[in-house]
């Protein structure tokens, strides 16, 4: 199905990463590659180390071993905000929105990296600062339109139902115009209709902006339908890596994770 898709070179290369916390080994010697413009799913049973892997990629956890190559740059560890500046954005498994702020402001924080006007202009709210603010506001309004959350633009996100919060979180990540977008269970706690919406947003993002996407999800329907390639982790180790159809049929994967073969 991806003949028509324009998948490029390797964008992110995770090489032989190991991460442990005291005695707990969260990741052991995992390598994986995500290529430009593809959708890569990471799946695996609970506690397999999926979230930890995302944390390693965007610099929140520092692996004991291994290296990461992103956009041609090799690194062992870095501060999260540097990863963000390099073009990695993400959403979180436990929604991590700024609960005291409105939807609009939350998404605007995603633009923070791109806003540079110094604070004297800010303080007076004239001239360049104002202009800049409006430009970014316009961009953010596009995202709001895109995600169909116009109605909650001014609502404090703490009051939103879970599903909408996930959508706002996606908006915040998109606002940074990332090269690589990491999504941690974006569809947990949603019903089918909402999942369909979410899938649509992910696919459109991938299509229209060419954003590379790393996706963790437990809904096999979603994973199999959306992803170009699937990495399976179990107990911190990689047990399979390939196109969905191959992975789905892998006996190891069925034993460790799926329980039954999924169609």
């Amino acid at each position: 199905m991806n003949e028509t898709r324009n998948i490029g070179d390797t964008l992110l290369k995770v090489d032989n990463i190991s991460l442990s916390f005291g005695g707990v080994k969260a990741i052991t010697g995992v390598s994986l590659e995500i290529r430009e413009r593809e959708i890569c799913a990471i799946i695996g049973p609970n506690g397999a180390g999926k979230t930890s892997m995302l944390n390693v990629i965007n610099g929140f956890y520092h692996p004991q071993e291994g290296t990461i190559t992103f956009g041609g740059e090799v690194r062992k560890q870095m501060r999260p905000h540097l990863a963000a500046a390099g073009g990695i954005a993400r959403t979180f498994q436990n929604v991590a929105l700024f609960t005291g702020m409105s939807t609009l402001d939350n998404i605007m924080t995603g633009r923070n990296l791109k806003m540079k006007k110094n604070f004297l202009w800010q303080a007076l709210n004239i001239g360049p600062a104002r202009k800049e603010e409006l430009e970014h506001r316009e961009f953010v309004e596009h995202i709001i339109d895109f995600l169909e959350i116009e109605a909650i633009r001014k609502t404090p996100v703490g009051r939103l139902p879970y599903g909408l919060q996930k959508r706002v979180e996606l908006g915040r990540a998109l606002a940074a115009e990332p090269k690589l977008l990491l999504l941690d269970e974006p569809m947990a706690g949603m019903n089918v209709e909402e999942k369909e919406d979410m899938c649509r947003f992910i696919l459109d993002t991938n299509d229209e902006f060419g954003t590379t996407i790393g996706l963790i999800e437990h809904d096999m329907g979603v994973v199999m339908d959306l992803s170009d390639h699937v990495v399976v982790l179990d107990h911190g180790e990689k047990i399979a890596d390939g196109v969905p159809d191959v992975v789905r049929a892998d006996q190891n994967v069925i034993d460790a994770y799926l329980g039954v073969a999924h169609d």
Partner: protein, 271 residues
């Protein structure tokens, strides 16, 4: 469900307001029969969690208030009981979003669930072993602080913790959230088993409609703070609207999520 003598829980026409101004439930009534598994379905923000919290009386902690209606458990009005009194009476809620005690270890978390029990250490230990057998993953994590374990593991802890209270009625809020597919089935198997073997009743708010309706005996559909449909689970499962909007099957075929995109998009353009 008809007016019936052996209802374990009946919620009558409740209205809930948050923060004095935000009206969320607009007259919700539902019933859970003794030994039943009842599913509460509905879109995001419909008010499922709010309904459960008003039953378990955890609402007040979020500055919400039941302004109208009554809630009866075993024929007795329970609106004014404290949550812990309700737990002692056998009603326990597994909250959405896990709410584990971060600074307690996994085992300590589980043990907090037995706080209201008076039947001795041995019985508690037995149930602890049972929980571990349900969730072997937790055995490895026994001594980890709950704040550090993975999302799915936390979900197991939250459910296990509720089981430790030996309840008669469990209010399960999105039990399948964040769990691997295999485990989702297992959880519902556990629900089924507890229901059959020990007569525990369940009221579950669940987004995974297909599984929920498979295990439940009765279902309510909540939209925008109102019950819009209810009926036996199998009836609901065969209802066309439910199929379309909650089960994601149209005309008997599951749509691919990739195709959904185009279909949706067209719809948007038309609108």
């Amino acid at each position: 469900m008809s007016e019936d003598g052996n209802m374990l829980l009946s919620v009558k026409n409740i209205e809930v307001v948050y923060d004095h101004v935000i009206l969320v439930l607009k007259g919700v009534s539902l019933e859970v029969p003794e030994g039943g598994i009842v599913a509460l379905l509905g879109a995001n923000g419909a008010g499922k969690s709010t309904t459960l919290k008003s039953i378990s009386n955890l609402l007040r902690a979020e500055r919400g208030d039941v302004t109208k209606g009554t809630i009866e458990y075993m024929g007795e009005q329970v609106d004014s009981l404290t949550p812990n009194a309700l737990v002692s009476k056998g009603v326990i809620q597994v909250m959405e979003g896990r709410h584990c005690f971060e600074h307690l270890t996994v085992e300590e978390n589980l043990l907090t669930g037995s706080y209201t029990r008076k039947d001795g250490r041995a019985a508690v230990q037995k149930d602890l072993d049972m929980v571990y057998s349900y969730f072997p993953r937790l055995v490895d994590r026994q001594a980890s602080l709950a704040g550090y374990i993975s999302g799915g593991e936390q979900q197991m802890v939250a459910i296990g913790r509720a089981l430790m209270a030996k309840p008669k009625l469990i209010l399960l809020d999105e039990p399948s959230m964040g769990l691997a597919p295999q485990l989702v089935e297992e959880i519902f198997e556990i629900v089924h088993r507890l229901n059959k073997d020990e007569g525990v009743s369940f009221l579950l708010a669940e987004q995974n409609t297909s599984v929920a309706l498979r295990y439940a005996s009765y279902g309510y559909i909540l939209e925008n703070g109102r019950i819009v449909m209810d009926g036996d689970a199998d009836k609901l499962a065969s209802n066309e609207d439910v199929k379309e909007f909650y089960l994601g099957v149209a005309g008997g075929e599951r749509k691919s999520f990739r195709d959904v995109k185009h279909y949706r998009r067209r719809k948007r353009w038309l609108a």
